[in-house]
């Protein structure tokens, strides 16, 4: 794989995040490790409460320091982000790491024009005149496909449609040519046809700007279309990770199977029933000590009360007791409609 030859941009090792609550500390993210190579798209998939957004906010130092405790090591271009003083972290945020938020309706400050907000970010990191920053903002808005950037730059967020706002948010995240873009559910709030446009834009930008992207989403379809690498999160842990093609053609973890089987197909025969996962995802307070998925898993064994081992198959790995010999049969039972292309 050519990606493997590229240098590592971000290396997260053993990241754990706990919140202080009235009933003592609650662990929302446990022992999460992943790497992002330069120019690569890593997708973190999970349902609400899986810890995917928490992981991302603590990487950026955007968590509430009073109530949140972050452990582990995060190395970005050789700098240990978790140990950096706040002022050094600020210099990295927005300049080397850009954030794209989920809901473009609320991600922009309502009382300033989008040009002002983009220029504000540029001027926070570069000594540049207001006029030059504005000119850059117009160029960026053109880059992200706004049809009339010279006019859009003076618009307020409420005067733009959802898709245009998300483009503006992306333009802002790109404004300082970041090496890493972090996108938290960037298309969830958008209509399908607009989502297609924005995904296309993200792929094009990766090509043009060469930024690596961490894409957080709950939508397996989005993952399949854009990601190079996938990490599936459940109950605060990465339960499976691997290259996208492998993960979709031979998923290893029962949760991944369940997630894929829960999505009704758009083509082929219609199923009489969907294969759903019984129960519901746990909240951080109710994550069981052993395997987090055990209470909902169809293949649960007594051994699942203990922390599950990590099984590897090439670049792919899963936190599950099921071993390589029994896995294919169980997978066929869980995912009967698995297509063989």
């Amino acid at each position: 794989m050519e990606q493997k030859d590229k240098p590592i941009l971000l290396d997260v090792d053993g990241l754990s995040v706990s919140f202080a609550t009235d009933r003592g500390p609650v662990r929302a993210v446990s022992d999460v490790s992943f790497r992002v190579h330069e120019g690569e798209i890593l997708s973190i998939v999970g349902e609400s409460g899986s810890g995917k957004s928490v992981t991302l906010l603590s990487l950026l130092g955007l968590h509430d320091r009073k109530t949140t405790q972050v452990q582990g090591a995060v190395s970005f271009r050789g700098q240990h982000l978790l140990d950096l003083p706040a002022s050094r972290m600020r210099a990295i945020r927005g300049k080397e790491i850009g954030l794209i938020s989920q809901d473009p309706m609320t991600a922009l400050t309502p009382v300033y024009t989008i040009g002002w907000q983009i220029a504000e970010q540029i001027r926070a990191h570069e000594a540049i005149s207001a006029r030059a920053a504005r000119k850059r903002a117009i160029e960026l808005l053109g880059e992200v496909g706004l049809s009339n950037p010279g006019e859009a730059v003076d618009r307020y967020p409420h005067q733009l449609s959802g898709g245009m706002r998300q483009r503006a948010v992306i333009a802002m995240a790109l404004s300082c040519n970041p090496a890493l873009l972090v996108a938290d559910e960037p298309t969830t709030a958008l209509d399908v046809t607009v989502q297609a446009q924005v995904l296309d834009l993200i792929l094009r930008l990766r090509k043009d700007f060469g930024s690596a992207i961490i894409l957080i989403t709950h939508d397996m379809g989005v993952v399949a279309e854009v990601a190079d690498e996938v990490a599936v999160m459940y109950a605060g842990r990465i339960v499976e990770r691997g290259r996208t093609e492998q993960l979709f053609s031979a998923p290893m973890h029962p949760y991944t199977w369940g997630l894929m089987a829960s999505i009704p197909p758009l083509s082929g025969a219609r199923l009489p029933r969907l294969r759903s996962i019984p129960g519901m995802p746990p909240t951080p307070e109710t994550i069981p000590p052993g395997c987090g998925f055990a209470p909902r898993c169809a293949f649960v064994q007594p051994a699942c009360a203990e922390p599950p081992p990590l099984h590897r198959a090439g670049d792919q790995a899963a936190l599950c007791i099921i071993d390589d010999t029994e896995r294919p049969a169980l997978r066929r039972a869980a995912l009967p409609l698995e297509e063989t292309p």
Partner: protein, 329 residues
Amino acid sequence: MSAETSAATPLLSARTLTKNFTVGKTLKPGSGRTLHAVDAISLDVYPAETLGLVGESGSGKSTLGRCLTRLYDITSGQLTFDGADITKAGTAALKPVRRKMQMIFQDPSASLNPRRRIRDMLAEVLRVHSIREGAAVNARLEELMELVGLRREYLDRYPHEFSGGQRQRIGIARALAVEPKLIVADEPVSALDVSVQAQVVNLFGDLREKLNLTYVFIAHDLAVVRHVSTRVAVMYLGSIVETGETEALYSRPHHPYTEALLSAIPQPHNRGRRERILLQGEIPSPLSPPAGCKFSSRCPYARDICREVRPPLTAIASGREVACHFPLE
């Protein structure tokens, strides 16, 4: 119309149903503009079918749902339900209609009183419509809980003690309490996590079998609609652009918008193998829809006539209608 459906009488029937809203009205004479949220839609819902209503934001699908259940007053047109004209029915006349037609919403927690137990809330519904008396009430409540897959002990809990999926089940139980024939469900699963969404989708299917229900299922998720619906209507800017039996419509869309919509959905099985039709721009404001065909401003195949003459919804095959001058083959 296909042979079997044309023989049946529709349960719910809308003719040139229109719902306008006035926006930006001030004291100034002539101010305010008319928003045609539902623009002269004609539509039939047949007994025991599930009609999927799909569209993006601004398509008017939710407004149409609320007009069909008469939660909204109708601006013009005609609406018949179970043989009776309910276009102008008042509160009293609607009470018996509400027993036969119920609505389920996207966010059930907004419609659950946080200070009332599930038991009291459901019992009230039974009492208002005088459906059960005395001890039969409790038996019915337990039956309802069983129907929607909740434990009967949950009757004595408060809404905040439930998860999103469970709350949606309670919303369904409340709709079922009056033993309706027709349920209009507005985005009932879109707020739920994928794994829980599949459970609720299955519940809809089970209930249809068990209780012989008819659904109007409104959603933006085309995969879910394909799974639950027998027939689908695609909406764009307040109009229906295409209707058809589910499999036929999904496998061979005749309207360019349906085609683009289907191709826009990211699919796990289609990585790198699919030609996506990228529509330019976004849905125009319903305040100023394009002249002629409403989709003409984004349609890759639009010609001059499309920008001048609005195509009517016309039957082009059995059970298949499309509003396009140049329907796709």
